[in-house]
């Protein structure tokens, strides 16, 4: 034998290379033995109000899934958004177009352990902007019934944010949240899967927008959601319908309903199209005030300000806390190229109006918000 000059370690390690020399044992010679995928997405987001281009973000991101040994997998995504644009114009305290230059760095990481009838995923996320640092930890698990037709899910999540706005209205403020999740997914028929998920999040700390005047929100928030989903596979067309309904309520007294639907239709030659529609409506927070300002002082002072109303009373002019309705219409086209690549292009149009609220009082005075989102993605399996 000519191999005796190698150490046992080298010999053992060389077995992989030797086995790979066997003909036809791998589908592709250039493919490492364990599959994973790497995908690159580029998001172009622009929103506008009549007469003003507000925010434009270009956001490349890379995500990698790599299987490790047989029963672990690690996922991670790293995104770096670059945001340049005017801060929101809605009767914002920073009136005019004070341009923001901000760099956001974010990363998340999750490890999943697979068991015979369940999984356990531990995740951590970190994101930082120069005035806002957020750290989050989560633990999620699933457990399947013996026949695999029912899966229960449970989760715990916590976050700790620290807030240091550049205008120093507050220094080293904090916000903490703790959330729990419970859910069940059930295979109803060979073509139907139903899912029910409940979540509850309790938070305390600084919820205000430090860049808005008269933004003084409660220091605690309790949020509940109920999410119902139903996926149906149609034998006749080979397409899949995904329907969802979400109900949200919180201690700010916001109530929201979301109805969403998408339909995935595979076409020949590796093509598929996915039209999607999302309808949303919410009621205003109890301390939200419409863009009606103090009779004497005018904007941005809330009504009653000049008559000596308590300046520390709860109030917020944030349009996200107003009552409104929104419609999202989107279309995604994906194509598999060869066995390794998938390209997808997605166009979405979003419009939000105070007058579209369906169930509660809205904020009819607000200008509508429109956004279009164009995303192109490329995924390679390896």
């Amino acid at each position: 034998m000519t191999t005796s000059r190698y150490t046992p370690q080298e010999l053992a390690a060389s077995l992989v290379a030797a086995a790979l020399l066997l003909p036809g044992v791998q589908a592709r010679a250039d493919e490492p033995p364990q599959d994973g995928s790497i995908s690159l997405r580029y998001l172009d987001y622009a929103d506008s109000q009549p007469g003003l281009d507000r925010i434009r973000a270009h956001s490349p991101s890379v995500s990698v899934t790599a299987p490790v040994a047989g029963d672990w997998s690690i996922e991670g995504t790293l995104t770096a958004d670059d945001v340049s644009g005017a801060s929101p114009r809605y009767h914002s305290a920073i009136s005019g177009a004070s341009h923001m230059q901000d760099e956001r760095k974010a990363g998340d990481f999750a490890v999943t352990r697979y068991f015979r009838r369940g999984t356990l995923t531990a995740g951590a996320a970190y994101s930082t902007e120069h005035d806002y640092v957020s750290r989050a930890l989560s633990l999620n698990g699933t457990l399947s019934s013996e026949d695999n037709n029912t899966t229960w899910a449970f989760g715990l999540a916590g976050s700790r944010d620290s807030i240091n706005p550049v205008n120093h209205v507050v220094v080293a403020e904090r916000k903490r949240t703790v959330g729990v999740l419970a859910g069940v997914t059930r295979v109803l028929t060979p073509n139907d899967i139903g899912q029910l998920t409940l979540t509850r999040t309790n938070g305390s700390g600084y919820y205000n927008d430090p860049y808005k005047l008269f933004d003084n929100r409660p220091r605690s928030r309790r949020e509940n959601t109920v999410l119902l989903r139903w996926n149906h596979y149609a034998d006749s067309t080979g397409g899949t319908t995904r329907l969802g309904y979400r109900y949200y309520s919180d201690s700010f007294r916001i109530r929201a309903h979301t109805l969403s639907g998408e339909y995935v239709q595979p076409l020949g030659g590796g093509w598929s199209v996915v039209p999607e529609l999302r309808l949303y409506t919410q009621s205003a927070a109890y301390f939200y005030y419409d863009p009606v300002y103090d009779a004497t002082l005018g904007a941005p002072f809330p009504p009653g300000y000049s008559n000596g109303a308590d300046p520390n009373r709860l109030s917020s002019p944030d349009q996200r806390l107003s009552g409104f309705g929104a419609v999202t219409v989107g279309l995604k086209v994906a194509r598999e190229i060869g066995k390794l690549w998938t390209v997808d292009v997605k166009v979405e149009r979003y419009e939000q109006r105070g007058s579209w609220r369906l169930f509660h009082d809205g904020s009819p005075g607000l200008a509508p918000l429109r956004a279009r989102i164009f995303q192109i993605g490329l995924t390679r399996r390896w």
């Binding site: 034998m1 000519t2 191999t3 005796s4 046992p8 370690q9 010999l11 053992a12 390690a13 060389s14 077995l15 992989v16 030797a18 086995a19 790979l20 020399l21 066997l22 003909p23 036809g24 044992v25 791998q26 589908a27 490492p32 033995p33 364990q34 599959d35 299987p67 040994a69 047989g70 029963d71 697979y114 068991f115 015979r116 009838r117 596979y233 080979g238 899949t240 995935v264 595979p266 066995k339």
Partner: protein
């Protein structure tokens, strides 16, 4: 798309085999499975040591007489066998099959040293000459066979064929040696039980696998017990006696041909077996003579 998983059981290589794969319809699945099982049968036919007209049959028949020209595939298998021999310090020896002449596992009897000595003289891979695309076994009575990794090689070839046919979810199982193409269609890994070496219908652990290969060598397939001692078919090439340290060794490797070779070497190396697997960066699940489990980067969900 939610593809259905189809199962195709078949018999080959004296084992129960099964192909599982996800496909859009039964016709496509059957066509793919048929091509894959045909490949398994081709390898069985080509490398059977029982067929005088197979390449292995011809090489063995020419022992001590003349050289036999090999095709490229056979050449590659011989090169791999040589590598396993070198990496195992000579323990993995494809000429050790002659020892079966002394060991008949249907008939519990331990052969004496006088019976084994002449056979051990024929176990000598290092003496086998390979030159110019031809192989020569220098002593009459010498034999080679690809029993140590042939089945695993077939599983790799069948899985590669399926993968080329567009299969993304499924696996090939040839008598417990398995090569995986990808996870279940919903993304969950396959859950594979590890046979209990002492209870024919029990499992000692289950391992989640989506990719790569899971192969197991054990002392329980062809064996007998005398006075409480287990004699199994994994024979040491220098003593001619069955190895006894491990009840079973399962290896998770990128290729089945690698896992099969490595798990056999680990059995043969006895107490040093796991260190060998660890050095090779392979994940394993092993059960020792006392029934204790040992594992590395593979943590079976033990039952």
């Amino acid at each position: 798309m939610v593809d259905t998983v189809y199962r195709f059981p078949f018999e080959a290589m004296a084992s129960r085999c099964e192909i599982r794969l996800a496909a859009p319809d039964g016709g496509t699945a059957e066509e793919l499975a048929r091509a894959a099982s045909a490949e398994v049968r081709r390898i069985e036919r080509t490398y059977s040591r029982y067929r005088a007209d197979s390449i292995v049959g011809r090489i063995n028949a020419a022992a001590g007489r003349h050289r036999v020209e090999c095709d490229e595939e056979t050449w590659a298998l011989l090169a791999y066998a040589d590598h396993l021999h070198g990496a195992s310090g000579g323990l993995f020896d494809i000429t050790s099959g002659v020892l079966r002449r002394a060991w008949d596992f249907r008939n519990p009897r331990v052969p004496g040293p006088d019976e084994l000595a002449p056979l051990l003289a024929l176990v000598d891979w290092a003496a086998v000459r390979r030159e110019d695309g031809a192989v020569y076994l220098p002593r009459a009575g010498m034999e080679i066979d690809f029993g140590g990794f042939g089945k695993e090689y077939a599983a790799d070839r069948a899985a590669a064929l399926l993968q080329q046919g567009g299969v993304r979810h499924g696996y090939v199982n040839l008598g417990g040696d398995m090569r995986f193409i990808g996870p279940q269609p919903d993304g969950r890994p396959w859950s594979i039980g590890i046979q209990d070496p002492r209870k024919p219908d029990g499992i000692v652990a289950s391992i989640a696998v989506s990719h790569g290969a899971l192969t197991t060598s054990g002392d329980y397939e062809r064996c007998f017990d005398i006075d409480g001692k287990r004699y199994c078919h994994v024979l040491h090439p220098r003593t001619g006696m069955p190895v006894s340290h491990w009840r079973s060794v399962s290896v998770l490797a990128p290729l089945a041909a690698l896992g099969g070779g490595a798990s056999t070497i680990a059995m043969l190396k006895e107490a040093d077996g796991l260190a060998f697997l660890q050095a090779g960066g392979l994940a394993y699940f092993a059960i020792d003579g006392a029934g204790r489990t040992h594992h590395h980067s593979i943590s079976g969900d033990q039952t």
